[in-house]
Structures are given as C-alpha cells and as structure tokens.
C-alpha cells in the first residue's frame, strides 16, 4: 500500500488534544504513522488553509435493514428529484430521507464520515441487515441487535440471571454478527404485541412479570459482565410524549449504581440516544415545552452516561423505530401511512412519514431542543450529533446542524423565519443561548466522542499514530472571517477523504469505493448448557424458522473486523 502526507492543515484531534494547530498527518499502509516513518515517495496532499480531522463516526442511524427498506419501498415519492446517474465505478443512487444503500455510502463519505452504526437490527432479520451493509460502499459499518423486548432476556432477568443473560447476548451477537446491546422502549414493544405500551419504567410488561427498569438494569449488568466495547444503548420509554422528561431522568438514574468494566477505555455504562425526543415538558401539545436544561443538568454531572442529540432538521422525512406503539400513536396524530412489523420473540418496528414544518409550533420547539442539548453540554466527549436518521431528519443535514451549533447568527436567522417564533422562544431556551461551539468541540461530538463511547477509540475518531488512516480535509479556514453558510458548505462536501489509507473522496466527489468492513463483536463466555438448551427449545416451539437457519453465515460479512472480548 502507499504512503501519504497530508500537509499544513489546521488539525483538530481531541484524542491528542490538538486544537487547530498546523500539523502534518502521515499515513502508511492504511494506518496513521509518525511523519518520520514515511519515505520521501509519500504522496503529498496540500491542506494548507484547510481544516483536518479524523473520519467522523456515526453512532446512531437507521441505514440498513427491514424497516429502512420498507421505508424506501413504500415511499416512491422520497426518490423524486434525488437521483444521480451512474458514473465510473459508481452506481446510480437516489432517495432523500431513506436513500438507497449506494447513496448512503456515497453521502456519508462526501461529508467525511467513514464509520456508521445501524442502530436497530431485529435479530431475525440480521441477514437482511448484512445484505444491505454489504451493498453500502466505502464506510465501515456495524449493527446493534435489539434486546429490550426479547423473550429470553425478559425471562432470565425476571429471575436476575445475569450470567445466563450474558451468555445469550454473546450467542446472539455471534449469530447475528452484531456490535452492541440496543434497547428500544424496553417492555413497551412486547406490550405492543397486544396493542399496549409501557409508558414509565415501572409499568409491568404483560405476561412477563418484569418492568422496563428491571430490563435496563439487568442489561447494563450483563453488558459490564461481558465487558463489551459499547455500553447498553437505549431508546427510552415514552418517546415523543409531552412531559416525558421525568421518565428520561428516571431511566438515566438507573445507571448511577453501575461502573464501566471493559478493556476499551469506555467510561459510560449507558448511552441514551436521540435525547431530543425525550426532553419534553408540558402535558399536551398546547403547553409542550423544552426540558433540555433539566435533562442536561443531570447528564452533565454523570460520567456514567453518554448521549446523542437527535436534532430535528425541519425536513419532510420518514420516521422508523422499533418502538412499535409510538409509530401507531404518530399515525393517529398525522394520519400519514403507517407500516408496522411485529417480530416474533424479539421486537417490532413501525414507520410513518413525517413533515417537520417550520410553520408548526411543536416542530419549532423540537428543533430548539435538539440544539439546546448540544449547547448545554459541558463535556462534548459525551454528547454526539445525530438526527436519529431519518427520524428527526436525514443524515445529510449534519453540516447544517454543525452550522447552527457553531453560529448564533445562523440560529437567529432560522428563528426569525419561524411562523410561531415568539411562542417557540417562550417554550424553549434557544434564543437566550449565545454559545458557539468550536471546531474542536465539533470534532469531539462527531469523532473522538462517539468512537470512545463505542469502545473503538483505538481505531476510529482520531489521528494518533497507530489508528486507522481515516482522514478528512475540509475546505474551511478557521482563522479567516467566514459566513455561517461557509461552514455548512465545507462540511457538506469534504475536500479530501481518506478511508483506511485509500483516498475515497476528492473535491466532494466519490472517487473510490474503498475497502469497506463490517464490524462485529465476538464475546467469549463460559459454556452454558442451560442457555443452549433454552435456545434450542424456543426454536422448536415458538420461532417460525429452525435454529440452523437463523445463523448469519460468514459470506454475508465478506470483509469482517471482529472485536474480541473474553468474558470467561
């Protein structure tokens, strides 16, 4: 492989504490190396006057799998005016809120994202998720299987059988080629099997005699027992409801008594995702208001927790979540087409299109809450930028969110065009915040932070020697005067993107499909005949496929990167 020297850029790398100093980044055989380790033949990339960061890491997006694809197939209208024709080495690509797999890879890469996590993989559909991941070019990907409504998990945790829960998790991660423990509306999605829900962490799950709080605590304990790279990754109960911030705080507090135990440098035991949807006050849509301050005041004091924002981008989008009852609730509100899939023994999913309109007060408030979460954050190594793609907006809007976070002027411009600006200001904090995030903080929120939270800080999110050579150059000079829109423009189309040492984007255009890998976690546990027997029994009696046909065979993951964990 070849050598590169990315010269004279303003480097922002939180892993090494570099805050915009002029520095050179040397690359050899796909890894970052010291400048002294490359020969004079190294190809030089001139980054002078430009911003240099590591490849960005997406910690939570719905980009591959059954519900994403149902979204694509049932929304032909989402393709209108979005298609680009095929080119040399490039497939035709289209779609806006739910782009095709090819477009997903190209668009992430063009923004400087080189790694992304699919946030909810129904285990029974794991093979489908991996087929899509295989067809998504350039970016490294992993997927989180969902556990929060799984019958095995609920039955083991009812009896506080942590070791058995861990053995089951280890088995499932291996057969589905998964990365982490995802929890979506714990207990509530199982209740949805009967058209019901769990709206607080103490609502009992019908028939299973367990509460959401017990599921969350048990899974945290199992996660730390195994020492997985990422923590439990939770989408909490009562998403999207006015007044839900108390449920949010109740859930976050569950993490207090646990300590992270792993060899990956991860410090949190709970990642709370798309916090915007969980930081609502009021008790109806009329008095709906922001509780981002209350929630972030708590998060700021707790090293045990990381969060991502779930910023509303004010677009027409497609909501999709394993929170089945929420999507039913949403279709009752907006009367747009509703798709639902209940998945035997495991989970469910729902899909409803949604228009976040700047003319609707609730949407304006949601927009403010997402940004407030980032702006109230004290430690940006623990708060990450997401849109919960495509739920609060498509991921291609990240550059716009970065603009809003870095510029009070841009936020004011946006607020000034809202239809209910005054009412929105009354219900939120946004107008009173003049904080402008720095490029260093943006690098924390999009690179070093998520990589650390995922337990992959040795690979991704930084530019220290030994790390993967995922390097991005943005045509943005932080030391010269600029308009807010210059930020959005620069982050939309990176000047140069390198993925594990291969240049994949030049001047905002994809030039190479890279060497995409699929990440999964192999967690070794002691032999557990009881769990193996339970698995066999459930397949014989309750699943509609045989156990032998459940396992995702290796050829669906043609270029794996396996993270080994030993919990024996």
């Amino acid at each position: 492989m070849s050598e590169y020297l990315i010269k004279n850029g303003f480097v922002f790398d939180p892993t090494q504490g570099i805050k915009g100093d002029k520095a050179d980044i040397a690359v050899k055989d796909g890894k970052i190396v010291k400048s002294t380790e490359i020969s004079s033949k190294a190809k030089t990339i001139d980054a002078s006057g430009k911003t240099v960061m590591a490849g960005a890491v997406e910690i939570h997006a719905h980009i591959a799998g059954p519900k994403v694809n149902e979204g694509r197939n049932y929304r032909p209208e989402d393709k209108l005016f979005t298609y680009t024709p095929k080119g040399a080495g490039k497939r035709m690509a289209g779609g806006f809120s739910i782009p095709t797999t090819f477009k997903t890879g190209y668009e992430y890469a063009r923004m400087g994202y080189t790694t992304a996590m699919e946030a909810a993989m129904p285990p029974l559909f794991a093979r489908h998720v991996h087929e899509e991941i295989k067809d998504t070019p350039i970016i490294d990907e992993g997927a989180y299987p969902v556990f929060g409504n799984n019958w095995f998990v609920m039955e083991y945790l009812k009896n506080q059988e942590i070791e058995n829960t861990a053995a089951y998790i280890s088995w499932l991660l291996e057969v589905t080629k998964g990365v982490a423990i995802k929890v979506v509306n714990p207990g509530g999605t199982e209740a949805w099997g009967w058209g019901l829900n769990c709206l607080t962490i103490d609502d009992p799950v019908p028939y299973f005699d367990i509460t959401p709080a017990e599921i969350v605590k048990g899974l945290i304990e199992a996660n730390e027992y195994l020492g997985l790279p990422h923590s439990v990754h939770i989408h909490q109960n009562s998403l999207g409801n006015p007044g839900n911030y108390t449920v949010t705080l109740d859930t976050l507090k569950l993490a207090e008594k646990f300590k992270a135990k792993n060899k990956f440098g991860r410090e949190q035991v709970l990642h709370s995702t798309h916090l915007q949807f969980h930081s609502y006050g009021g008790d109806n849509w009329g008095n709906f208001e922001s509780k981002s301050k209350e929630v972030m005041d708590y998060v700021n004091t707790q090293k045990n927790i990381t969060v991502d924002t779930g910023c509303v981008t004010l677009d027409e989008t497609t909501t999709m979540t394993a929170d089945g009852p929420f999507e039913h609730h949403l279709t009752e509100l907006n009367h747009l087409k509703w798709a639902n899939v209940d998945v035997e023994l495991e989970t469910a999913a729902g899909i409803v299109p949604y228009v976040y309109s700047p003319d609707i007060k609730v949407c304006e408030i949601q927009w403010a809450i997402g940004l407030e979460i980032a702006l109230f954050t004290k430690d940006h190594m623990r708060t990450f930028i997401t849109t919960d793609h495509p739920n609060a907006g498509p991921f291609i809007r990240y550059p716009r969110i970065i603009k809003w976070l870095m510029s009070a002027e841009a936020r004011k411009e946006r607020i000034d065009t809202f239809k209910h600006g005054a009412k929105m200001i009354e219900a939120t904090h946004i107008a009173g915040i003049d904080r402008e995030l720095t490029l260093y903080e943006i690098a924390q929120m999009t690179r070093a932070g998520p990589a650390k939270s995922l337990g992959m800080a040795n690979l991704y999110g930084g530019l220290a020697p030994g790390m993967d050579a995922d390097v991005v150059v943005y045509d943005f000079n932080p030391n010269t005067p600029h308009k807010p829109d210059d930020i959005e423009k620069a982050f939309s189309r990176a000047a140069y993107v390198m993925k594990t040492g291969v240049p994949v984007v030049i001047d905002g255009e994809v030039v190479n499909n890279g060497n995409k890998r699929t990440i999964w976690v192999h967690a070794k546990v002691n032999e557990n005949p009881q769990v193996m027997r339970d698995i066999k029994d459930k397949f014989l009696r309750y699943y509609s496929v045989t156990q032998a046909n459940y396992d995702v065979s290796k050829h669906f993951v043609p270029n794996p990167y396996v993270i080994e964990v030993d919990a024996t």
Partner: protein, 439 residues
C-alpha cells in the same frame, strides 16, 4: 449409504418452509427421499432429477426448432442482445436468489433495462396499495404465538401454500395459543367453496368482484353505523356478527391473495383491506399480510428496494431509476411495443401473461434462463438451462413476511451446468467487454 440433509429450505412458495429433510445418495448426486415437504415442494425437488432434463443452452432456428449451443455462445448472444437493445425488459427474478438478482441489476444499469418481477401479475397491486396507505403487519411466528382471529381473503392456502396453516396460521400451538386451532376463529372470504373455505368458522361466499363493498361494510359495522340488508350477497346480520368476532379477538390477521389483487378495483381492494386492519387496531391488535406466491418474489422487491428504492417495475433506461406502474410494468410495456428485447429469469411469462403479451415476447430478441422447459423457453430465441436454486445451489431468499432465509444446496448440479449467478456474472463481464468501458 445415503446421507440426510436437514433444515432444507423449500424453493416453491412464499411460505418458505425451512424444515425439510432430504435424503441424498452417498455420492451427493441423487435425491432419494424428502420428508416434511408438501406434495408440490417434493415434486419440485424430484423434478430436478428428471432424466429428460435439458442440460445445454438451445438456440431457436428459423423453422422454430431448437439446436444445442455452448454456454459461451449463450453468454455472447445474451450480452450482445443487451448491448444492442435500447430498452430491454428483464423480467422474472422470483425463483432465484438475491445474489443473482443483484448481478442482474448491475447488468440492467449498464444496459438501460427495465427490471420487473412477478409481483407485476401477482401482488403488484398490493405494493401500490402499501405505497398509498402503509401496512401494519408482523412475522409468521407472531401469528403462531398470538393470533386468535385468522382471515383468509381471496386466497386458498390449502392448495397454493399447503403448509401455511399447519406451520403458522391455524394449527400450531404457540406461546399464547397453547390450544392450537381451538384458540382460533377462522374466517374465509371467497366466492367459491374452496377447500380452505370448507374449514372455516365463517365463510363469506361473496359475489365475485364485490370485495371492496364487503370490506367497506365491515368497516361500517365496526363503527356501528347502518348497513343495507345485504352487501356483496352477504346478509347484514352476518357482517355485524363477524365484525364483533374480529373486535373481540386479542390478535388478528388478514391473509389475502390473488382473489383480491387481480380482481377489478385491484389496489383499491387492498387499500380498503389495509384500512380495515388499521381500524381494527382501535379495538385490538390486527395485522395484514400478502400471501406471496413465488418463493423469492419478496426478495426481488427487497433487493430492488435497497439498490433503487422501488419494489418492482423499475425503469433504468434513462440512466436513473424511475417507477410508474401502468407505464413501467411488463404487460403495459409489451402491449405498447416499448421494449426491444426481453430477458426472462426465474419466471414463466409465457404461461402467466395474457396471450397478447406473450405474442409480443415471441417476436422480440429473447433469452429465457430457466432449469425447466416452459412455454416461455419454447418461444424464446435462446433457452439457457441452469442449476436449481435451493436444490443444486444455495442463496438468500425472503419469505412472504420478509424474513430472510438462506436456501441450501442439497445435490450437485449436472456436470458443466452453470448457476444463475455464474451465467449472469459471465454475461456481465462480456457486456463490459462489448461496451469497452463506455455507456
């Protein structure tokens, strides 16, 4: 000595049973017996063994007879056909693996083709309805474990999906349904006394083509609004009674088939059935599912979905993907003479399209890739026999509820026979050569 292969997937219908056991001769060449399959599935495995099976590609001669050619010639003919055609139609894709579909799509992009699958004459109208109003559904294991109200509307699983009722919908004892069929009320809507209807607790023997009215009547009955004395030939009292049965269940499901998708009103029938399902969710939990026919028609829709964003009738001829049923659907294209070549893989339009469309196919440059002799192969210019997917080669497939299951290889294909994937791969490479890096 024979050996047994277990957990074999049946490559017949969308039920995609995955518990077959196949006894294979020691040399791995011959299937000796099949357990757990329905009669149709077993026949499919046995047909692979037929002594009179075509093993070489055959080219149609001017007098209408066929002459054997080599695979090299077949690859060359096919690639040249794509190279020359301005708007070829690539139809079928339902009886093959997702891996083959994927290579087919690459060819289609290069050739500027239209990719359409058998949904176009099957559940295409369902897909349109889903695009209009969504679809609340579930996996088949949910039915097995929870469902106590089962509706079969315009479908006859006793014949078309023979193991559906025993594996998923009527008889199995699940987690919350430990009494099996005694836990369940079965309702069949069919103008005929079908064998499925004969099993039902309630049979709505409606007047042919009156599905929309009856669906509307049920929705009215749920709301306790007034109904005429009879609707679609069904007395008001019966409709009200069944509406109450549906409401009183804990978990219900509507399975529907060609009886509704192909009858006039088509997608509007399905719209209304989905809205009935949505209405029922005000009272209890309810789902709806299409009884997909071919074993991997669902997979074709999935692969097209993630690669292009549309489930069937995908027109790539303009350099980007378009979708407009009624315009980019196979029968409309053929009727309007809009395509200038046709490639068929994994389906038999010769038997399943109206004869007026079939006549158009016979006039065009055409390639039929199929292990069998079919009406399509016998009117095509070139017939390319291939290995049976799910018998002689594996590959991913999607069940009617979108659950992916990987088909297994059970025996070797005849010596020298290509698989779908191998043939398409060679065509793709030959097409690259012909295009010389252009187009």
């Amino acid at each position: 000595m024979s050996k047994s292969v277990t957990d074999v997937i049946c490559p017949f219908c969308g039920t995609l049973c995955d518990d077959l056991e196949v006894i294979v001769s020691d040399d791995g060449k011959k299937i000796e017996d099949i357990y757990n399959a329905c009669a149709i599935g077993a026949e499919k495995f046995m047909h692979a063994q037929a002594a009179d099976r075509v093993k070489k590609p055959r080219m149609q001669q001017p007098d209408g007879t066929y002459k054997e050619v080599s695979y090299d010639e077949a690859v060359d003919y096919t690639a040249k056909m794509f190279h020359k055609a301005r708007k070829p139609l690539m139809y079928g894709w339902s009886s093959t693996s997702c891996e083959a579909q994927s290579i087919g799509h690459e060819i289609a992009e290069k050739a500027g083709a239209i990719v359409d699958n058998t949904a176009t004459v099957c559940h295409g109208t369902t897909l349109i309805a889903v695009q209009d109003v969504g679809i609340p559904s579930c996996t088949l294991g949910e039915i097995k474990n929870r469902a106590d109200r089962i509706i079969f509307w315009g479908c006859n699983p006793c014949h078309a999906h023979p193991r559906h009722q025993s594996r998923y919908s009527i008889f199995p004892r699940g987690y919350f349904t430990n009494k099996g069929h005694k836990n369940r009320k079965m309702i069949v809507v069919d103008p005929r006394d079908s064998d499925t209807a004969k099993m039902a607790d309630y049979h709505f023997k409606l007047e042919q083509g009156r599905d929309y009215e009856l669906l509307s009547a049920l929705r009215v009955a749920l709301r306790n609004e007034p109904l005429p004395e009879t609707v679609a030939g069904i007395p008001r009292e019966k409709i009200i009674e069944v509406a109450e049965v549906l409401k009183s269940g804990r978990f219900g499901i509507i399975f529907f088939g060609m009886g509704v998708t192909q009858t006039l009103s088509k997608n509007h029938n399905i719209d209304n059935a989905i809205m009935l399902t949505k209405d029922l969710n005000e009272f209890t939990k309810f789902s709806i599912m299409a009884m997909r026919g071919h074993y991997n028609v669902t997979g074709s829709g999935q692969v097209l979905g993630w690669q292009f964003g549309f489930p069937y009738a995908v027109d790539l001829s303009r350099g980007f993907a378009r979708y407009n049923p009624g315009e980019t659907t196979s029968n409309d294209l053929l009727r309007r003479d809009e395509v200038d070549a046709i490639f068929v893989l994994g389906s038999d339009p010769g038997a399943h399209f109206p004869i007026s469309s079939v006549r158009k196919i016979a006039k065009l440059p055409s390639v039929c890739v199929d292990p069998h002799i079919t009406p399509t192969s016998e009117i095509s210019k070139l017939h390319v026999p291939v290995a049976f997917v799910g018998v002689e080669v594996g590959g991913n497939c999607y069940r009617m509820d979108n659950v992916p299951i990987e088909a297994r290889k059970v025996v070797d294909p005849p010596e020298g026979m290509l698989t779908d994937v191998e043939f398409l791969d060679r065509v793709n490479k030959r097409l690259d050569q012909l295009m010389g890096g252009k187009k």
